[in-house]
Symmetry: C5
Subunit: 354 residues, 5 copies
Amino acid sequence: MPRFLNRRSQKIGMRPGSLVSAENTGLGAPVISVMDYGPDHCHERDHVNISELKQVPPPDAVAWVNVIGVHDADIMAEIGQIFGVHPLTLEDIMNTGHRPKCEDFDSYLFITLKMLTFNTTACVIESEQVSLIVTNNCVITFQERPGDVFDAIRDRVRSGKGRVTKMKTDYLAYALIDAIVDNYFLILETIGDHIETLEADLLLKADYKAMKMVHHFKRELLFMRKAVWPLRDLINGTQRKEAELITDETVMYYRDIYDHSIQVIDTLEVYRDMIAGIQDVYLSSTGNRLNEIMKVLTLFAAIFIPLTFIAGIYGMNFDNMPELRWKWGYFGVLGVMVSLAAGMFFFFKKKKWL
Amino acid sequence: MPRFLNRRSQKIGMRPGSLVSAENTGLGAPVISVMDYGPDHCHERDHVNISELKQVPPPDAVAWVNVIGVHDADIMAEIGQIFGVHPLTLEDIMNTGHRPKCEDFDSYLFITLKMLTFNTTACVIESEQVSLIVTNNCVITFQERPGDVFDAIRDRVRSGKGRVTKMKTDYLAYALIDAIVDNYFLILETIGDHIETLEADLLLKADYKAMKMVHHFKRELLFMRKAVWPLRDLINGTQRKEAELITDETVMYYRDIYDHSIQVIDTLEVYRDMIAGIQDVYLSSTGNRLNEIMKVLTLFAAIFIPLTFIAGIYGMNFDNMPELRWKWGYFGVLGVMVSLAAGMFFFFKKKKWL
Amino acid sequence: MPRFLNRRSQKIGMRPGSLVSAENTGLGAPVISVMDYGPDHCHERDHVNISELKQVPPPDAVAWVNVIGVHDADIMAEIGQIFGVHPLTLEDIMNTGHRPKCEDFDSYLFITLKMLTFNTTACVIESEQVSLIVTNNCVITFQERPGDVFDAIRDRVRSGKGRVTKMKTDYLAYALIDAIVDNYFLILETIGDHIETLEADLLLKADYKAMKMVHHFKRELLFMRKAVWPLRDLINGTQRKEAELITDETVMYYRDIYDHSIQVIDTLEVYRDMIAGIQDVYLSSTGNRLNEIMKVLTLFAAIFIPLTFIAGIYGMNFDNMPELRWKWGYFGVLGVMVSLAAGMFFFFKKKKWL
Amino acid sequence: MPRFLNRRSQKIGMRPGSLVSAENTGLGAPVISVMDYGPDHCHERDHVNISELKQVPPPDAVAWVNVIGVHDADIMAEIGQIFGVHPLTLEDIMNTGHRPKCEDFDSYLFITLKMLTFNTTACVIESEQVSLIVTNNCVITFQERPGDVFDAIRDRVRSGKGRVTKMKTDYLAYALIDAIVDNYFLILETIGDHIETLEADLLLKADYKAMKMVHHFKRELLFMRKAVWPLRDLINGTQRKEAELITDETVMYYRDIYDHSIQVIDTLEVYRDMIAGIQDVYLSSTGNRLNEIMKVLTLFAAIFIPLTFIAGIYGMNFDNMPELRWKWGYFGVLGVMVSLAAGMFFFFKKKKWL
Amino acid sequence: MPRFLNRRSQKIGMRPGSLVSAENTGLGAPVISVMDYGPDHCHERDHVNISELKQVPPPDAVAWVNVIGVHDADIMAEIGQIFGVHPLTLEDIMNTGHRPKCEDFDSYLFITLKMLTFNTTACVIESEQVSLIVTNNCVITFQERPGDVFDAIRDRVRSGKGRVTKMKTDYLAYALIDAIVDNYFLILETIGDHIETLEADLLLKADYKAMKMVHHFKRELLFMRKAVWPLRDLINGTQRKEAELITDETVMYYRDIYDHSIQVIDTLEVYRDMIAGIQDVYLSSTGNRLNEIMKVLTLFAAIFIPLTFIAGIYGMNFDNMPELRWKWGYFGVLGVMVSLAAGMFFFFKKKKWL
């Protein structure tokens, strides 16, 4: 299955905005949990029933609805109805191969991006789509699978400390995106460690296995780049005048994520350049190695082939070969051979082939 | 015949907007079919005569005129006259190698793009130009050959379900373009499957045949890119203020196609990068392989050539070769040979050539 | 002589707008011909004397003055005086290596571009600079040499058919530019034919001569690109608000040329990418071939070198070599040789070197 | 540890603006020094206690507070409180891997950039983050380690000469940034010296060690580019209308830094291109060398292998080999061998393989 | 000394606008000459004393002050004071490695650019910085060394012919810049000649020395590009609204230089592409050559190695080798050898290795 493009085949021919349950996901029913909190309270409910979502949260509270599993079309449609979500938005949430983007609807802001994790056993980056719907009193997050990078935020909300409980949904959305982007740095560090180690190895010895690993990480960076590159537009999208949900107070925080995105992209580009450099070194190195090997071979061949030929001549069985009868013939030939070998040796020395 | 550029030679020197029937297309007369539908009715007519097209559809109905075959200049001119189409537009429709674009005329919107299909037997992408003329009560589609990706839309229109029957021509046009763009994903998936399989193969073993296939898909991606790249401008063209035919209600849908186009282009770029990576791996791999082979050759040559030379010396037939008479001469020489071979072996071992 | 840059040396140090007759052009005196036509008449005069140009054409007529040969400074200056052309414009017309551009002067529009023709015997693109001065009742075209791509337009003017005789100078200018751009497609088709054929050849067999041809066409495309690339800016220049000579009616036609220019540029880029791909295939192919050859060589060497060495040992003439006296010594050695060869063979087979 | 990305791992999950002391920096407590000066006085204090910072400087004086060591979160928070610095700014100062940028807060301008030094023993560029907070009467600089490039500015302030003592904080900030950017040229000169020397060496002889050094400097340039590239945006940031702290009088000086930044970036790009050129030369050179070596080997092999074969034939021990009995057989064979060798030699000569 | 970056080391730590005399320039005192002219007069003075510069030229005259030698800080400061030049401008003039730019000060326009000359003996481009200060009645030019490309302009001024004596300082500045840019074409022609010749040579035979020359010119183009690339911005700078010194009448002339700059840059890019193409051809060619050589070697080895082995077998001295006793054994073996050689030959022929 192509990893760089999520299957959309089953959608072909459907009417736009129509929702199709993903086949064979191997995942159970979606799990919904709700945290609603204000400056002085925090209620958490897990495994919430959809109908309970209709209860309006108190006016000064912020509700964070977390939906794990986006493969069930019926449940998605129901959620969509409760929160007044446009069918195209629901379609985008369920299409887990969507490009990160930020779209401003009248009543909500829709943000979709990739949560990346580095699988250290297989040495590959794994991607999970996270979508956020931000209304003025509620943030709904959609994840594909259990497990995320939001635990620290949950702790902060529970403890009631920090800025998050004093501010509105735009700040919560910022905190969630920031957690995802911060995690990108962790992945870059891990890959960076590997690449710099491989480079050091390859400068010592051109090892094809190390080269394969370099190629492997190049692919992972390509994969990561596809997920990270659209972030700039996304963050810019949140800073447009029309995005009224983002207050002036939080804009500075979004600018901070923007800086981080740029830094991730910069670092990705630097690693790309480094890998290109490593490939050049590897090529130079194998080329150099081949020359070294060929020089040795040529040296041996060029010195011994003529000598063997001379020995061959005096191994011939002609009746009339006067040299064979000479007393010092053998030693003379040995002398000639040594001189020839020495001559060749110095000739090559002079030609810098040794 | 160059596949990347449709022949326009016969047009050279013609006055602009002049229509020339394509030669030798091997296609019969164009086939026209009409669907007109409203929220509560749907009439379908196949093999419609051109003169019948003049009948005005009822005010609240939408007419979809599908023309298969654009090679006949006379018929095209007649259609153009009925619907008030500018000669330059007709010329663009008949020039099947046109670049995808969107042009806003006073009374209609003209859109031309490529419908791509993947021929699985020849493993090539096939391209067919589809042109749309969108007036305020009629969408005329022009195709080169029978067979398209619009059957699902026809079904939706017939069933009267879905949004399409409740909305105007701009939505029908959107649905048609969306069907074409959705089909691009299908092709990308197929090619992606192939590329990722080939990459896995080439990482195991540098196989020139697999490399040729990689090159083949690189070309197909190039072909696809030429068709897809202008889509961004096309969709942007539909969203300009002046395009009054596109209502505010449908603009969001066109924005959705825009997102999909960007995603197709992104994926094309990623595949290009992947193929470049595969080529690098192949080069590294063949370079590495050559070094391996040369090392073996050099090893054999460097060890056996001196030994053969020594054997050659004692194969000479000089009368006076004292060593030949020594009792243990033969075994001494064998001993020297074994030591020499071992010495060379350890020398190469130390030099990391083994 | 560098082909990619027309000599300007003799101009160094001249005052701007000063006109210098080109040296040694081998061309005779410039030839001027005039066509003036309206909706219902058409007068043609060849070999017109410069003084005759001063006659004002009738108010509703359009005059097309065609000047062949721009190397004579005196004649150019005279023409410039008659039509009120700025000295810098005249300098640009005479500098036949000028970059295509469109400049808007108060009383006229100055357009210069390249007319390309494909010399099929030498397989090279030949370039000729065509400059247009468009006033409100006259189009003056300047060509370097006799022979152009405007015959079809002349026929249309003569026949009085088509739009050209009913419209003003801006349409005539459009028709001329369109004829030049249309001709680019012809060249692209020819080169495309060659490139696709060469690619097919090179996929079958890495042939250095075919590779040289690919390089040749790469250069020709480079040459063409230099001529075609500035066309976009040129056409955009005609569509600026200030260019009052281009009426609203003809703007659409210029937009059409713009589309064609983009298509030519697109196709040029695609061919560049294809050639890059062909080069990669060639490199892979020669690399693969080298490996194949080396494998055969190594196989022969690795199998026969040890065998020859064994034969060499028993060719030595030591008195005391017990094996030589054994009855089955010879056959034993033969057996050892066969086993060794078989062993090597299977070893290489296992290592996938065969 | 990856050098191209500073560790941020310990920050993951922290609330934005939270400050974490860096672990194991091996650095002692931060050292604060203050210089306050006006047109006619200059007071310097080293090892200042934080509480002393609260004393307001006299109205016409400028205070330069220099903090060495940004790893202690408590001290940073205290400083932040005294000068009214936003927590996000403090976080950026402590995150020593931050991308150079300029941010305009209401009461201060925040600038962070990299101070680079070239470690001549290890031949690597070392980077230290310098952050500036510019208020209307105070410039606070933060450095990671002792040692900087500001001594010349300190001398100028002390001496009371030059423009710096007559102007406000914006000029001091400019002088500091200028000192950092000027130092970039010093590094570029050193690297440029090395690269041009290496290029000259590699044109004489393809030496793999020199190639490794080229690769090394390529990496250093990559490292430098990451630090320098964002400077353009940074300086542009200072020139925006809203940055009221930068007076019209100093804007010209900032424009001067901008020019220098562009020049540094230009030179970096030129060195990149030069290194790419050197790599091409190295590849051509090793390829050429390999061909040279192979030609020699082939020559030897092609001449001596047939000769050795002939000698081998007449070394066979068949009873019935008439040639062996011929009187001049031996000399005939020698003649044949010489002719053959000469023939091969001239054949290769003619084929330009010698 | 790095040629691509002029030393600025001695400036490090100096206060901005401080002027430092260049060390060891080997140049004498700066030489100042003045030409003041109007429509009907022209006074020339060489070796003018600085104090004489203070005399105000007559109101309708234009003064051209040419300063040769910018290494003496005192003289520069004096000139600066007389003409009211900003210290930063003086610093830029003295820093001879400055990037070409145009800066608009209140009372003057400052332009700095590179005058290039091609040293035909060393085959390198030499660069000299020329700076212009344009006030409303005076143009001051600064050159590094005697010798320039302005003689033709001097002649035009002296003769009183041409437009230059009738117009103001902006036209003189234009004429000077135009002379410098025109000279770029001369250099491009020379380099173009060399490159096209080298390409033709390399297509015939892959010669490493020619390749080195190609690399050499690549570097020179890189050097030229660094000088020429910023010209576009420079000329655009003169056309900004605020640059009041450039009158509407002369703007058209500056637009002409702009066109020429673009053409120089275009041609530089084309040459870069051509050189890249030549490198590809060289690589293909050496690769092809290596394959040719290896094929010959392999052929010889593969045919003769088995034959030599057979000869070796029958050179063994076993007592019991029945074949040796056969009457036709020798001839039989010869026959086998010939058949084997022929078989191998046809095998290789069939495999297309010959």
